[in-house]
């Protein structure tokens, strides 16, 4: 075997060396790739872990910014947030900064800089929706934050729910060549963060919906109670003044009934806006002491305001007045202006052991009191109100029992001919035979009943009782019976669509002829902005029942009512009789009413005739009929019968 030639050996050596070099390069590349993959995995894992543990978007972005900085070794990271209204990128609060003060100027500049699409590094990402890399910002024409110590830069977007949500940007103090592999990893991080943002948003939305009113976006009862409890604790600790305003729109139901619920909702939203405006625009005097407000909607047309850090109790009243003032400009609904007022109940947190529910109840009571005094009023809750409210609750409960126990009675007051004083018909009047208080006058319980559905039960009972009585009288006294019997119907009863049906059924059950029944109602019941009362009246009229307009001449008297509604008779309010002696004016009004009634073919009853003089006046003014103590007081059926009995007995010849 011969020695190989030297050049052959050299060629072999060269081959070997080249093979070794290639093997080394492969090993280096593989090592490097492995290293990168491991680091990427570490980074992705860190981002996934941290972002899944985040409960806010800011937290998730912060952890991602930190993780990317740790991975790249770049000292500066920041998240720009997309503002929904403008679509621009505004500086966020998530920062990662290494180095003592090196990047202070960069940070403060960034915190003052907003980017729109296409402008600067974040704007480029916003415009393209893709990551961007700048090797050296100092030589980049489209980079704004120059000469602030950063050179290499890249940024990538986060998309959530189909739109860009944030742009994460990172900076190195040195120029750095683009690293496509790194941008690939950033894209993965962007997708991961997008999912996290979607999840957090969904959670936040659920949490928001649970604590906010969907219609107005205001706090709801749940959240408000929470804030109120905290405020009470603070007020107790610091001895500061807190107050609660309970606000209810006056006649909101009318808007809903006449314009529909769409308009009602629109009104509630506008009111919410006005209230927020009123609570924000505090003047400098009222601001003294740093007032704070929480506004909530409790459903329906009820709003509540929590006022904290008030300078004084008077400040709560000023807030209430400011709120009412804010509603003064009419609301535009369905193309027309509507004046809306609010009744406000105010309660001052005294610092004593009050709980949130008690305060709300007290504010509610004060609000009702304000409403009673008319629209657009406020009332401060005090002990007197509490006592009255408690009494009212007690009365309502007792009245409910009274109905069940049969403690209600009907008395009847004769309506007589002014000419000869003979009884023509009667008005049924409800009385409460209270086991302890004796006979309770209607003024003490009917208003309370009218605030609840109790009035419907009392009304139904009265109707049936009166019909039964009238039937017996007709049977017993024939033509001499003092009929029709008139029964008072409240606004609430009249607002029931089924009222004509209830009356028809009652007549059928008792056997009374419709002609022997009259319904008395007040004008107030007619002016409800609803078509229901008019329909009820027509239904009653169709049955053959007479319709009497009570308390005529007071309040909302309008001639149009007499034309629009099928009315048979007017009862002139007692106040005219009382003041007939005091001047010509009343006399002239009564004369005009009588003339008008006669022209329309209506009968006229003078109410509240208490003296012989008044009886004479009523006659001279042309009233056909009168009612009052001068002729007869309301009395139980037996006493009424005694008034008829002698005549009838004489006619029939019985004892």
């Amino acid at each position: 075997m011969s020695e190989p030639a030297l050049d052959v050996v050299e060629r072999r050596l060269l081959r070997e060396r080249r093979a070794r070099r290639e093997a080394e390069e492969i090993a280096e590349r593989t090592t490097r790739a492995l290293y990168d993959k491991q680091q990427e995995l570490v980074l992705l894992e860190a981002v996934v872990l941290a972002s899944n543990e985040s409960s806010t978007v800011d937290e998730a972005l912060q952890s991602a910014v930190d993780a990317v900085c740790a991975h790249t070794g770049w000292p500066v990271g920041h998240a720009y947030l997309r503002e929904r209204s403008s679509g621009d990128l505004v500086p966020g609060t998530s920062w990662h900064i290494e180095g003592a003060h090196q990047f202070d100027a960069f940070r403060s500049t960034t915190e003052r800089t907003t980017f729109s699409g296409g402008v600067g590094l974040p704007g480029r990402v916003l415009a393209t929706g893709r990551a961007a890399w700048i090797t050296d910002v100092t030589t980049d024409a489209n980079f704004l934050r120059k000469n602030l110590g950063v050179r290499g830069a890249f940024a990538f977007p986060i998309h959530a729910d189909g739109e860009m949500n944030a742009v994460l940007e990172f900076f190195s103090p040195s120029a750095v060549a683009p690293d496509p592999a790194l941008l690939d990893v950033m894209a993965q991080i962007g997708r991961q963060l997008g999912r996290v943002v979607e999840r957090i948003r969904a959670q936040e939305q659920i949490a928001h919906q649970a604590t906010h009113d969907i219609l107005t976006g205001l706090a709801n009862r749940l959240l408000f109670l929470d804030r109120l409890e905290l405020a009470l604790a603070r007020a107790r600790r610091h001895g500061s003044v807190a107050a609660l305003l309970f606000l209810d729109l006056d006649r909101f139901k009318d808007i809903n009934d006449t314009l529909g619920h769409g308009a009602g909702d629109e009104l509630l939203r506008s009111v919410a806006d006005r209230l927020q405006g009123a609570l924000r625009a505090t003047d400098s005097v009222a601001r003294f002491g740093g007032e704070e407000f929480t506004l909530a909607r409790f459903g329906g047309d009820e709003f509540v305001v929590l006022c904290e850090e008030l300078a004084s109790e008077n400040a709560a009243v000023r807030v209430a007045e400011r709120v009412q003032e804010s509603l003064r400009v009419p609301f535009l609904l369905e193309g027309a202006g509507h004046v809306i007022t609010a009744s406000i109940g105010i309660v001052i947190a005294s610092g004593a052991d009050q709980n949130a529910e008690d305060l709300l109840r007290d504010a509610d009571i004060a609000m009702y009191r304000a409403k009673e005094r008319g629209q657009g009023n406020w009332e401060i809750f005090d002990e007197e109100l509490r006592k009255r409210a408690l009494e009212r609750v007690g009365t309502e409960r007792a009245l409910r029992q009274a109905l069940d126990l049969g403690e209600l009675r009907l008395h009847y007051q004769p309506v007589v001919s002014v000419e000869d004083g003979r009884m023509r018909s009667v008005e049924a009047l409800v009385r409460w035979q209270h086991p302890e208080r004796g006979l309770v006058p209607p003024a003490e319980f009917i208003p309370i009943a009218e605030e609840s559905a109790l009035i419907l039960q009392i009304g139904a009972w009265t109707l049936r009782e009166a019909c039964e009585q009238a039937f017996r009288w007709r049977a017993r006294f024939g033509d001499e019976a003092p009929l029709p019997v008139s029964v008072n119907v409240s606004a609430r009863q009249l607002a029931q669509r089924e009222l004509p049906e209830i009356v028809r059924q009652t007549l059928a059950d008792t056997g009374l002829s419709a002609a022997d029944l009259a319904i008395e109602l007040t004008e107030t019941a007619l002016i409800e902005d609803s078509s229901v009362p008019a329909a009820s009246l027509r239904g009653l009229k169709a049955l053959g029942v007479k319709i009497l307009l009570d308390d005529f001449g007071t309040g909302y008297s309008s001639l149009s009512h007499l034309q629009r509604f099928p009315i048979d008779a007017l009862k002139i309010d007692r106040s005219f009789m009382m003041h007939l002696g005091s001047g010509e004016d009343n006399r002239a009004i009564v004369r005009a009413i009588v003339a008008m009634a006669s022209a329309l073919g209506l009968e006229v009853v003078a109410e509240g005739v208490e003296t012989a003089d008044q009886a004479a006046e009523a006659q001279s003014l042309g009233c056909d009929w009168a009612q009052g103590y001068y002729f007869a007081r309301p009395a139980p059926p037996a006493e009424i019968e005694a008034l008829i009995a002698p005549v009838t007995a004489a006619l029939l010849g019985s004892p």
């Binding site: 070794r20 090993a27 090592t31 490097r32 290293y35 990168d36 090797t135 290499g152 190195s172 040195s174």
Partner: protein, 178 residues
């Protein structure tokens, strides 16, 4: 010391002084000479080769090390152009040593024991501090000069503080001119 350093030295010695010189240096150092880039070898091997070269070439050892550093830079630039491309000056390139270049070296050669520098600017000068038990400040100097060659700059390097003169670290003051 990573094997890649020995490979680079071999490449340069063979290029400038011929195949036989490398064999002679190995013989003189009593080394077998099988170095693979990813392997790790005793620092002592490098020192032996350097002193053998100094003797063979009648040069001071620091001169050999500096020559090695300066001539290694074009080889790096060839292999890792992306580290050089973003810069237009030696100064900005050198400032990325701690943050970019050395981390990259560690990724490529796991376990590489690269030194940490500290940097300071004094008027026009870049002041670079170097601490390493290897005391290879001349290698750093050579690399700096090589980088200067790459960016077409002339460097003036002073070393007022040096471990070889008993200081606890080295300071290189670098002036740049074109």
């Amino acid at each position: 010391m990573k094997g890649v350093v020995f490979n680079l030295l071999e490449q340069l010695v063979v290029r400038d002084f011929g195949e036989g010189t490398w064999d002679a240096l190995l013989d003189a150092s009593g080394l077998e000479g099988s170095y693979t880039s990813l392997g790790s070898y005793p620092d002592e091997d490098l020192y032996k080769l350097v002193s053998a070269a100094a003797e063979a070439l009648s040069m001071p050892a620091d001169g050999v090390v500096s020559w090695f550093g300066r001539n290694a830079v074009p080889l790096f630039a060839d292999r890792y152009p992306q580290l050089f491309a973003p810069h237009d000056s030696t100064r900005s390139f050198v400032l990325t040593l701690n943050d970019i270049i050395h981390p990259e070296v560690r990724k490529l050669y796991p376990g590489a024991d690269v030194p940490e520098f500290d940097f300071d600017s004094r008027e026009e000068l870049l002041v670079m501090g170097y601490r390493s038990p290897r005391k290879l400040c001349s290698f750093a100097e050579g690399l700096l000069l090589g980088a200067g060659d790459h960016y077409g700059e002339r460097l003036a390097i002073e070393q007022p503080v040096c471990m070889k003169r008993g200081d606890d670290h080295c300071v290189l003051e670098i002036g740049f001119s074109r």
